[in-house]
Symmetry: C2
Subunit: 151 residues, 2 copies
DNA sequence: CCAATACAGTACTATTATAGTACCATTTTT
DNA sequence: AAAAATGGTACTATAATAGTACTGTATTGG
């Protein structure tokens, strides 16, 4: 099964929580309790999200976290990207290690994988955090493959 | 990073190899050598693919494996499904464990996740094995989210 | 009919990635 | 100055994955 990590799942829960009250600062402790995860885990995730530019943070006694942008301007790709790195289905597709793919002709697959990753990326980029906050906002995504060369 | 397992990656290499010569039977040993993976690993994968109905197999001295359907009729979802189970991004989305998601209001996320999983599924279902065999066959996938309720 | 070959199934081990935790530093408010 | 809260890093435990081995069954060929 293609899956995202459990932490990323939590991360989305956190972001969804913050999206419901975007103006106020929320302390990690409050967030952890609200979402239902352990405080150290929440801390870790909040740090990563802040570092990824998705959250603004303020230190000190009255500190906490808040969304850096409006919920409409944050997509699933942003969140997943901040927590798991760039979206890609294979190592090949993300161009992390260049000289890894030394399989003779099998590497014809590479270009196709990149396209598939792109499709998944697009699907994830099409869902905003704002849409996640409402219970059953319909999201219509059309995946239409074409066998025709564009050339 | 959202990712498929390494074994699944190998599996697709195997399927791609078989798709280039769909008529003849290919022994596991031949396949392992051609794709560049260890024999036991190839055996494991071939068994899983055969069990998933994607390969026909024949035992005995002249035995081997061949695609059960034409390359045009096999998609990435079929292969990934055979090797990793149903495609889904979260446990929540695949309905494996029902009573796991006891988070009060956060579970509004659930329906959206299922839709996203569906989108990924569609993207993967839109790519056939035949398309993977040719080096750079363009695949156009349109992911267009809509904020409008369908109701 | 026997032996060799190749797939079928299962179970086990090792490795790797993930999840989770703890610690110390830094900043801000009271 | 002290308390509260984030920032960064490193470490440990757990779980998932990858890989291997073994036994069983079917088919071909001498």
């Amino acid at each position: 099964m293609i899956r995202i990590g459990k932490l990323t799942d939590y991360g989305i829960l956190i972001m969804t929580y913050l999206a419901r009250d975007p103006e106020r600062l929320h302390a990690a402790q409050e967030i952890a309790q609200a979402v239902g995860i352990a405080l150290p885990t929440a801390n870790k995730l909040l740090k990563m999200l802040a570092r990824g530019g998705l959250l603004d943070s303020q230190r000190g006694t009255k500190g906490g976290y808040a969304l850096s942008r409006q919920p409409e301007a944050i997509t699933m790709v942003d969140i997943i990207g901040a927590l798991e790195g760039p979206v890609g289905l294979t190592d090949c597709g993300t161009a992390k290690q260049p000289g890894n793919c030394q399989r003779e002709r099998s590497c014809s697959v590479k270009a196709n994988w990149q396209r598939i990753s792109q499709a998944v990326n697009d699907a994830l980029a099409g869902v905003t955090l704002a849409e996640m906050t409402v219970p059953s906002q319909p999201i219509r995504i059309f995946a239409r493959p074409s066998a025709q060369p564009v050339t």
